[in-house]
């Protein structure tokens, strides 16, 4: 059975270690495999490793036992040597995966089907960093002169950029970047009896224009669609033979505010920073009617959020996630208390091509903040222009979305809460800085006492919540449109793995 599959964008390269990007990984997952993958529920599932655990006597070492009898697409056997090689490759300077395995100091083979991974300290969450780390065949790579990771930024083209030799369930047949990629079933796959594997051929086409994407689905030219516009769910559902399935996504959408500066550039208040006052931030949060956004802008396809971590993440609690409320009167009162009874004006920077209905959400927020007297000037632009403002700290009020691939709050804190430094806190444009909190965040990395670690996480979250560091909006809901012949549930990471698909 052929699966015609479309989404908005294409994989950037096929070299497994050259780019760390969602849609790129999605394509690789069909052909390459890591040691561990996440299944549809987000739980770890054995892939090339059958089991794994920290060594009992040394918390700095994880032991992975490998699957036997696995072959690469070209027939070569998979052994521990390939794993060692792949990890080394992923640590090369050109690799985009190197930050994820930064704590690994050594990977060594222990026999043909076992490896030990040594880290520079105890690393309780190591497995979660490995779910996108694909294993290549050492011999094939050497034979084809592609041991070095493709220098993507430098524009290098290597054999691995366009060719694939993985252990995965599908084999690359042809590929025109941004146009079409065709894969066929790997009948020698180790899991051929274990997984449905009912799709024999995958034709993957990126379609950028949302309306065209939906049209293609409606006219039956597509069997499986990611990046579905929320407003078209009903229409697609209503068509005979098409269904839409959904699941909460591992991504939360929120606003950030520059509270650190003495004065803001984009506001109309001289000599003071209204956002520095926590009451103002709380008032703004209270002005946002998350239900209305969910109902109208998102068509019910979102879950109002009270914290900036998705529910999958260690450290998330239902109580904190319910903390945001809407109360326009109270918000006005808070504003008045803070000395801004007449409101103020400020610019909101917003992307228009990154998140589901990002611009619509911002527009809605403009209206809602307007109701408590804050005049917001919306500046919506492509992500290419939006993100530099955040990482460069050039915005006072901005929208951001965050997914947590490691499923742990540490990832959030490292990027969004820790003071802004060159290697850490890089996406924290709020100007928030708390030395004690920073120390606590840094200690999370090597804290093996999970209970103490979780307590720390809770403490940090409490500060984030009380300070109203960010204004959480909602958790995105993921929608996959598909022909009724396709049987699959939605993956919260937005990483469909076709081997799980059934077709009838």
């Amino acid at each position: 059975e052929t699966l015609r599959w479309a989404r908005s964008g294409d994989a950037l390269t096929l070299d497994p270690h050259a780019q760390n990007e969602g849609p790129t990984h999605t394509i690789r997952h069909q052909m390459y495999e890591p040691l561990i993958i996440r299944d549809i529920s987000g739980a770890f599932e054995a892939a090339l490793a059958t089991d794994w655990a920290p060594k009992a006597d040394d918390p700095n070492i994880w032991v992975f036992n490998l699957r036997e009898g696995v072959t690469f697409h070209d027939g070569a056997a998979f052994t521990a040597e390939d794993v060692v090689f792949s990890f080394e490759r992923a640590k090369q300077p050109n690799s985009d995966m190197k930050e994820l395995i930064g704590s690994i100091t050594e990977v060594r083979a222990v026999g043909d089907f076992s490896v030990e991974i040594v880290t520079d300290g105890p690393n309780p969450i190591l497995p979660s960093n490995l779910t996108n780390l694909f294993i290549m065949d050492k011999d094939w790579t050497e034979a084809n002169n592609t041991v070095d990771v493709q220098d993507f930024e430098g524009g290098e083209l290597t054999f691995a950029t366009t060719n694939v030799n993985g252990t995965g369930p599908y084999v690359l047949q042809s590929r025109e970047p941004d146009v079409k990629t065709v894969m066929v079933r790997n009948d020698a796959y180790w899991g051929i009896d274990q997984f449905p594997m009912e799709v024999t051929e995958i034709i993957y086409t990126p379609i950028q224009n949302a309306a065209t994407r939906v049209a293609a689905m409606l006219s039956g030219e597509i069997d499986f669609l990611q990046d579905m516009p929320v407003q078209d769910l009903e229409r697609v559902n209503a068509v005979d033979g098409l269904i839409v399935k959904q699941a909460p996504q591992n991504r939360v959408i929120f606003f950030g505010m520059n509270q650190g500066a003495d004065d803001l550039e984009s506001d109309n208040i001289d000599g003071a920073n209204p956002l520095a006052d926590v009451r103002v931030r709380q008032a703004m949060s209270m002005a946002i009617n998350r239900d209305a956004i969910r109902q109208v802008v998102m068509r019910g396809q979102s879950e109002p959020a009270g914290m900036i971590a998705p529910p999958f993440v260690n450290g998330w609690t239902a109580e904190m996630d319910a903390e945001s409320s809407t109360d326009v009167e109270a918000a006005k009162a808070l504003l008045a208390e803070a000395g801004y009874a007449d409101g103020f004006s400020i610019r909101l920077d917003c992307p228009n091509d990154r998140y589901v209905n990002d611009e619509g959400i911002c527009q809605a927020a403009v209206g809602m903040l307007g109701q408590i007297g804050i005049t917001v000037n919306l500046d919506a632009k492509p992500k290419a222009q939006h993100f530099p403002l955040i990482s460069g700290g050039q915005t006072d009020f901005y929208m951001l979305g965050w997914g947590v691939p490691t499923y742990d709050s540490e990832y959030v804190f490292n990027f969004l809460v820790h003071s802004r430094e060159s290697e850490i806190g890089t996406w924290n444009a709020t100007g928030f800085s708390d030395a004690d909190l920073d120390l606590m965040i840094q200690s999370l990395a090597s804290n093996t006492d999970l209970e103490a670690r979780n307590a720390d996480i809770a403490t940090i979250w409490r500060t984030v919540q009380d300070e109203q560091l960010y204004i959480p909006i909602h958790h995105q809901v993921l929608n996959w449109g598909m022909s009724e012949r396709v049987g699959i549930e939605v993956d919260p990471e937005d990483q469909p793995k076709i081997k799980y698909f059934t077709m009838n």
Binding site: L12, G155, Q385, F387
Partner: protein, 326 residues
């Protein structure tokens, strides 16, 4: 004639230089490519390293001269996004656009001229008026909307034609063509109509007004007075004279077709250079954008050169090598 062509070529080179400069300088402002190339986990050090590696911290002029040097050798650098040489990508994408543009041009020119002549000859006829009025609707709606409406009608509602892509293509050497498969031809229909409609209207109206103009010239009257057949008068005498001004405009329109393909390709997910350009703009892929603009200008310049040379074949008055006094 030689002098004319030399002058044109020099002018064209100037145009290309200016376009190159304008394009190149524009891209300095659209956004920072670094942001897009590094993932969420990049560090300040990475940024500096990459900036240095790409030569983005060199003076503007140095970057431009480097760019020109490369461009002359067909080397536009490497796409930031796809990590492949831009020239390779262009070579890969150009056939799609060129085929689409060719079909649209042929449609636009054939129907444009036919309708133009028809509406001019039957100036007050019902059908002619009808064509004139409907053609106005074509230019009164933005192209993207027309494309989407066509998709809605012919793909979604009727299910006759594909809504996106090129269908199946056949690879002939470096050229992938959709002309040889049924699905490829089918896939061409909607996009080429969308793309060609506007130009067709323009050409048609131009042909009509020029034709009307020519039809009241004395030599047409004289041709009638000589008892020539209407067909001879309309096509041999009138149409040929009409073509002189029309060709310039057609030349310009053909260029616009390639430019307007940006919109059509976006709507129909047509894998050509226009789509490439829009992607590049969104991703601030400077080398691709620069190369695209240069490519467009080269095509424009080439088309105009061809048009100018065509003149010499159509209009004997231009062939004189005599200094003109009167």
């Amino acid at each position: 004639m030689l002098a004319y062509i030399i002058r044109r070529v020099v002018q064209s080179a100037l145009v290309l230089l200016i376009v190159g400069l304008a394009a190149f300088s524009m891209f300095r402002f659209v956004g920072d490519p670094i942001e897009n190339m590094l993932g969420q986990e990049r560090t300040t050090v990475d940024i500096e390293r990459l900036r240095d590696q790409l030569g983005l911290d060199e003076p503007f002029i140095v970057q431009y001269v480097k760019f020109l040097e490369g461009a002359v050798q067909g080397n536009f650098g490497v796409s930031y996004r796809q990590g492949r040489p831009v020239s390779d990508i262009l070579v890969e994408r150009a056939p799609a656009t060129l085929e689409l543009a060719t079909v649209s041009c042929v449609l636009a020119i054939a129907f444009g001229i036919a309708f133009g002549v028809f509406t001019a000859i039957r100036r007050d006829g019902f059908l002619a008026n009808f064509i004139m009025s409907t053609s106005l609707i074509g230019v009164s709606l933005p192209t993207f909307l027309i494309g989407i409406l066509l998709i809605y009608i012919f793909s979604v509602e009727l299910g006759w034609l594909p809504s996106f892509g090129r269908g199946e293509t056949v690879q002939i050497g470096n050229w992938s063509t959709g002309f040889l498969t049924a699905s490829g031809l089918k896939a061409l229909i909607l996009p080429s109509i969308t793309l060609g409609l506007y130009q067709m209207t323009l050409i048609m109206r131009l042909v009509r007004s020029e034709m009307l103009e020519v039809l009241r010239q004395d030599y047409i009257r004289f041709a009638r007075a000589r008892g020539l057949k209407n067909r001879t008068i309309n096509f041999r005498h009138a149409l040929k004279n009409t073509m002189v001004p029309v060709i310039t405009v057609i030349g310009l329109q053909l260029g616009s077709i390639i430019a307007f393909a940006i919109i059509t390709e976006t709507v129909f997910q047509w894998p050509g250079v226009g789509l490439l350009f829009i992607n590049a703009v969104q991703f601030v892929d400077i080398p691709v954008m620069a190369a695209y603009l240069m490519l467009i200008s080269v095509m424009f310049v080439a088309i105009n050169l061809i048009v100018d040379i065509l003149y010499f074949f159509i209009d004997p008055r231009l062939r004189v090598d005599r200094a003109g006094g009167h």
